[in-house]
C-alpha cells in the first residue's frame, strides 16, 4: 500500500491510481541522488510503513517539490521526496547519525519531537544550533534513551505546515509490556493550498475568516430559552465567538492520514484475529482531532511514546504534537479510522481492512458543540450553559466546585491563579480566566455525553512511578495569553521577542503550572525534558512531552531539569508559536 507521496522520476504513470497524489515537480536538486525508494505494496504481515528508514545511519534530504492534494499544484517541503517524511525506525540504546541535507533555497531544521537529547542536537535554529543553510548538510548524532512513538518536524518558518513531518519509532530493548501482531503508524495532519505566511497575515487581519459556524439570527430565535439567551448575551458582551474552536478550519484545510486525503483512503491491512497496534501521531499545524474507529474499541497503551496502564476507550482527542498508541482487535473486513477536526469542519480518514480496496461506512461529522462559559473558566456563568445533561464529573464548573470543597492532604497543585502584572491593561489580551480548574477528567467540548467512552487525561497513568520522585522545590506559573481578534499570542501577556528566558538550575525539580487565559486550547511542548503531569492533588499521573491546555483550565506538571542548555517551550499550534514561546534555560 502506497502510504506516502513519493518523488518518482517517472511520474504519474508508475503510481497506478489516478486519485493518488504525486510529487510532480522534480526540482532538479531534489530529484538526483535521493534515497527515496519505490514503495512496495505492503503485504499482510509486512508492517505498514512502506517508506521506512531503518538503521543507525540515516540520510535525509529536505527539498521542495510540487504536490497536489486538491487538484491545484502547490509547493511542499518534502524529505527524501516524501510527504509525510519517511518513518525512522530505531532501537533504544543505539546511537543514531542523521545527515540532513538542505536542498531548499531557505534555511531548514529538524526537531526530534519528544526525544531526550543534547541541546545542540535538538534542532531549534537560533537556540540550539544555527539551522541548516541551503546546500548545507548537518549531522545529527545522539543516543536513544527511550522507546516508543515519536515524530520529527521542521522548526523553521512554516515548513511544518508545508509537509516536513514524519514518524519515529524507537523499538524498546525490553519487549513491550503488551503483545501485538502488527502495527501501523497513523499520522494525522492538515494541508492547505494557501501560502502559510499569507494565511498567518490573513488571520491577523480577520481571525474569524475560516469560521463559518458562527451562531446566526436563526439560531438565536430557535434557542429561545432564557438561559441560552443569557449565554448569547455573555458571549456578545465578551466580544467572542463560542464557535471559535479552531483558527483554521476545513474551509482551508484538507486533513490527511499518512499523507492521504479522505478520498485517497489510506488503508492499513490486517488479518482477522490479529491484534493491531496503531501509533497515532498528530503532526498537524493547527488541528485537534477526535479519533474513533466505529465497531472497535481501542486500548490506549502509550501516550507521547510512554507506556501507560491500558485503558479501553471508543474515542480520544489528540492535540497537535501528541501521540497515542492503541491496540485494536479487528475481525470484520473493514473499519474506518475517523478523525474529525475539533470544530467539526472536516475529517481525516483511513481504513483498516483485510485487503486493499475495501472501505467501511464513513460516519457523518458530529454537530458542532459551542463553547460554554463554563468551558471558558467563568464558573459564575455555568448556569447559562446548554450542557445541562452533564454529569457532575464532566461539568467543568462542578468539578471546580468539588475541588474547592476538598481539604487535600499534601500540596495541592490547584490554586486560584493570580494574574501576572504584565497582563494588566495589556492590549494583547482579550480575556482572563476567572476560575480555571484542571478538568483532567473532562473529555472536553464536543465529546461530553456523546454516548461513547472518551479518553481523558485522568485516564492516563504511567506504567512506571514518578521517575524522579522528589517534590518540586518551587512552582513557576505561566499564563497562556492572547487576543483572538488581533491574533496575538503570548505567555503572561509578553511575546517571546520581549521575554527573558525561564531559568532553571541543573538538577532541580520544578512544577510548571499553566493557566489558560485564552478561549483556545493550546498544546504546550517543552523541549529536552519531560513534562510529568500531576493530578489535582499533586500526585504524579503521566509522563508527556506535550500537554494540551483547553480554555478555562489550569494544569501543572513536574519537570526535572536534567538537560543543560537552551530549550524551546511553546504552544505547538504553528501560528501561535511565534508569540506563545519561551526559552527555558537550564544552567549549572
Amino acid at each position: 500500500m502506497n502510504s506516502r507521496i513519493l518523488l518518482d522520476p517517472r511520474g504519474r504513470g508508475t503510481t497506478g491510481l489516478s486519485r493518488r497524489r504525486f510529487v510532480e515537480g522534480l526540482g532538479a536538486s531534489a530529484a538526483t541522488g535521493l534515497l527515496c525508494k519505490r514503495l512496495a505494496a505492503s503485504q499482510p504481515g509486512a508492517g505498514s510503513a512502506a517508506d521506512e528508514l531503518r538503521g543507525n545511519e540515516v540520510e535525509l534530504r529536505v527539498g521542495a517539490a510540487s504536490v497536489s492534494f486538491t487538484g491545484r499544484e502547490r509547493l511542499a517541503t518534502l524529505v527524501n521526496g516524501s510527504l509525510p517524511a519517511p518513518l525512522l525506525r530505531w532501537r533504544e540504546g543505539d546511537t543514531v547519525t542523521i545527515r540532513v541535507r538542505n536542498d531548499l533555497d531557505e534555511d531548514t531544521s529538524i526537531h526530534w519531537h519528544g526525544l531526550v537529547l543534547p541541546a545542540n542536537m535538538d534542532g531549534v535554529p537560533g537556540l540550539s544550533f544555527h539551522g541548516i543553510a541551503p546546500g548545507e548538510t548537518f549531522v545529527y548524532r545522539f543516543s536513544l534513551h527511550q522507546s516508543g512513538t515519536y515524530w520529527y518536524h521542521a522548526h523553521s518558518g512554516f515548513q511544518e505546515q508545508t509537509g516536513l513531518y514524519g514518524p519515529i519509532i524507537i523499538e524498546p530493548r525490553e519487549p513491550a509490556p503488551f503483545g501485538y501482531d502488527r502495527e501501523h503508524v497513523v499520522l494525522l495532519s492538515d494541508w492547505t493550498d494557501r501560502d502559510p505566511l499569507a494565511l498567518y497575515l490573513l488571520l491577523k487581519r480577520h481571525s474569524d475568516y475560516f469560521n463559518f459556524n458562527k451562531r446566526t439570527l436563526g439560531d438565536f430565535v430557535r434557542d429561545s430559552p432564557t438561559a441560552t439567551r443569557a449565554e448569547y448575551r455573555e458571549w456578545a458582551r465578551m466580544r467572542m465567538q463560542p464557535s471559535d474552536l479552531a483558527d483554521v478550519s476545513g474551509s482551508a484545510y484538507t486533513y490527511l492520514t499518512n499523507g492521504q486525503t479522505p478520498s485517497g483512503n489510506w488503508t492499513g491491512l490486517f488479518r482477522p484475529g490479529e491484534r493491531v497496534r496503531l501509533r497515532f501521531i498528530n503532526g498537524s499545524s493547527m488541528s485537534t482531532f477526535d479519533v474513533r474507529i466505529p465497531g472497535l474499541t481501542m486500548t490506549v497503551v502509550a501516550a507521547d511514546g510512554q507506556n501507560v496502564h491500558p485503558v479501553t476507550v471508543e474515542e480520544f482527542r489528540i492535540a497537535a504534537a501528541e501521540t497515542f498508541d492503541v491496540l485494536v482487535s479487528p475481525n470484520a473486513d473493514a473499519y474506518t479510522i475517523f478523525a474529525q477536526s475539533l470544530d467539526r469542519t472536516g475529517y481525516a480518514r483511513g481504513t483498516l481492512a483485510v485487503r486493499d480496496g475495501l472501505a467501511a461506512e464513513v460516519p457523518a461529522l458530529d454537530r458542532i458543540v459551542y463553547l460554554s462559559m463554563a468551558d471558558m473558566g467563568h464558573a459564575h456563568a455555568a448556569t447559562a450553559t446548554d450542557h445541562g445533561a452533564h454529569s457532575a464529573t464532566t461539568e467543568p464548573a462542578a468539578a471546580g466546585a468539588e475541588h474547592a470543597g476538598h481539604a487535600l492532604p499534601g500540596p495541592s497543585t490547584v490554586s486560584t491563579p493570580t494574574h501576572p502584572p504584565s497582563e494588566h491593561r495589556n492590549p494583547g489580551l482579550d480575556m482572563q480566566a476567572a476560575a480555571p480548574t484542571p478538568r483532567l477528567a473532562d473529555p472536553g467540548v464536543g465529546l461530553r455525553d456523546n454516548g461513547r467512552r472518551v479518553l481523558t487525561y485522568a485516564d492516563l497513568s504511567s506504567l512506571f512511578a514518578d521517575p524522579d520522585g522528589r517534590d518540586p522545590a518551587r512552582t513557576i506559573e505561566l499564563h497562556l495569553t492572547g487576543h483572538m481578534d488581533k491574533f496575538m499570542w503570548s505567555f503572561d501577556g509578553v511575546p517571546f521577542a520581549d521575554a527573558e528566558p525561564l531559568r532553571l538550575r541543573y538538577g532541580e525539580r520544578v512544577r510548571l503550572r499553566l493557566v489558560n487565559d485564552t478561549m483556545m486550547a493550546h498544546p504546550i511542548h517543552l523541549h529536552g525534558m519531560w513534562s510529568d503531569l500531576e493530578d489535582e492533588a499533586g500526585a504524579y499521573l503521566v509522563r508527556k512531552h506535550t500537554v494540551n491546555m483547553p480554555p478555562g483550565t489550569q494544569r501543572s506538571y513536574r519537570v526535572t531539569a536534567d538537560a543543560l542548555g537552551r530549550w524551546a517551550y511553546h504552544c505547538h499550534l504553528l501560528y501561535h508559536m511565534a508569540g506563545m514561546f519561551r526559552e527555558v534555560r537550564v544552567d549549572e
Binding site: 509490556p177 505566511l197 497575515l201 549549572e588
Partner: protein, 303 residues
C-alpha cells in the same frame, strides 16, 4: 482526587486490562498494585515514595530520569553551542508587517437629486498594535464631487479592544480645501458594536466630531445585515460649506451583504440621511430637502 477514588480508578483500569488484553504480561497486575501502593504513599510520606521509585526503576529500566547525571565538559559544550549573533526567530515573526485595504462601502444611491456615488475606504499598514491609517470617504452627485476627504492617521492599540488614532484630515469638497487635525478612537464595544469616534480641529477654533457605529447581524454565515449609524457635529456655522453649528447631519443605514468570499460581498440597502438644525436650514434655503431616504446597491471588498 482522593486516595480512595484513585484506588477505584486503578482497580477499574486493572479490570479493563484483564478484559481487553489477554496477552498482557503477567507482571502487569503486579505493577499496577505497586503503582496503587505508590500513589497512596505519594500524598502521605515523601521519603517512602523515593524508595518506592528506586524499586520501580528496577522494574522499568527503560525509563530515563530518576538520577541526575554529573556533567562533563562535553555535556557543557553540547548544551551551549556558540551561535555567535544568531538569535532565535524561527523564521516567523511574531508581529510581521501587515496591511489591510477595506473598501467598506462603494455604492450607488438612488437620491432625490440624482444618482449618488458614495465611497468609504479604510486602509492600514503596520503591526498588531501600531498602524498607519489612510481613510477616505466622499460622494459624487451626477459626476460632480459633492464631498471628498482624506485622512492620514497614526494608530496605537492602547486597550484590549481600542486603538487611539491621531493625524490629519484634508477636505477637498465642498468649498475650498481645508485641513483638520484629527484625534480619535476606534474599536469594538461590548456586544460587538464596531465604533469610530474622531474629533477634528481646524484654523480659527473650528471643531467637529464624527461618530460612526455598525453592527453585523448574521442572517447566515454569509448573509450579513449591517445597521449603521453616523453622526456629525460642528462647533460653528460654516456658511461656505452649508454647515450649521451643533448636530449637523446623520445617516442611518441598513445594508444586506452576501459574502461570496469573505473578501467580496455585494450588498443592497436602505439609507436615511438627515440634516439637522442650521445645516437643515442651509439645505432648505438652497431648495433641497433636509432629509432623504435612498435605496443603495454596492460592493464591499477587502484584501
Amino acid at each position: 482526587m482522593s486516595n480512595a477514588t484513585m484506588r477505584i480508578r486503578h482497580a477499574g483500569l486493572a479490570a479493563l486490562c484483564s478484559i481487553s488484553l489477554s496477552a498482557w504480561p503477567t507482571t502487569g497486575a503486579a505493577q499496577q498494585d505497586q503503582h496503587t501502593e505508590h500513589t497512596e504513599h505519594a500524598t502521605q510520606d515523601a521519603p517512602v515514595v523515593h524508595v518506592d521509585h528506586a524499586e520501580h526503576g528496577a522494574v522499568q529500566p527503560a525509563i530515563p530520569g530518576g538520577t541526575i547525571a554529573p556533567l562533563t565538559d562535553a555535556d557543557r559544550a553540547a548544551a551551549f553551542p556558540d551561535l555567535g549573533e544568531a538569535v532565535m526567530h524561527h523564521g516567523m515573526l511574531e508581529d510581521p508587517l501587515n496591511k489591510l485595504v477595506l473598501l467598506d462601502r462603494f455604492e450607488t444611491q438612488d437620491a432625490a437629486g440624482g444618482d449618488v456615488l458614495r465611497w468609504d475606504l479604510d486602509t492600514w499598514i503596520g503591526h498588531d498594535l501600531r498602524k498607519l491609517w489612510i481613510r477616505t470617504e466622499g460622494e459624487q452627485l451626477s459626476g460632480d464631487t459633492e464631498r471628498a476627504e482624506l485622512e492620514l492617521l497614526w494608530g496605537k492599540g492602547f486597550a484590549r479592544w481600542w486603538d487611539f488614532l491621531v493625524g490629519a484630515r484634508r477636505d477637498f469638497a465642498p468649498g475650498d480645501d481645508q485641513t483638520w487635525a484629527a484625534a480619535g478612537v476606534r474599536g469594538v464595544t461590548p456586544y460587538r458594536f464596531e465604533l469610530e469616534a474622531t474629533t477634528y480641529l481646524a484654523d480659527g477654533g473650528r471643531a467637529a466630531l464624527r461618530f460612526e457605529t455598525q453592527y453585523d447581524v448574521l442572517v447566515t454565515n454569509r448573509l450579513v445585515l449591517q445597521p449603521l449609524l453616523e453622526l456629525n457635529w460642528h462647533a460653528e456655522d460654516d456658511a461656505a460649506r452649508a454647515v450649521g453649528s451643533g448636530l449637523s447631519d446623520g445617516e442611518l443605514g441598513l445594508r444586506l451583504r452576501y459574502e461570496f468570499r469573505r473578501e467580496v460581498a455585494p450588498y443592497v440597502g436602505l439609507v436615511h440621511e438627515r440634516k439637522f438644525g442650521g445645516t437643515a436650514d442651509f439645505a432648505r434655503a438652497a431648495g433641497d430637502e433636509p432629509s432623504d431616504t435612498r435605496l443603495v446597491a454596492g460592493i464591499r471588498v477587502w484584501f
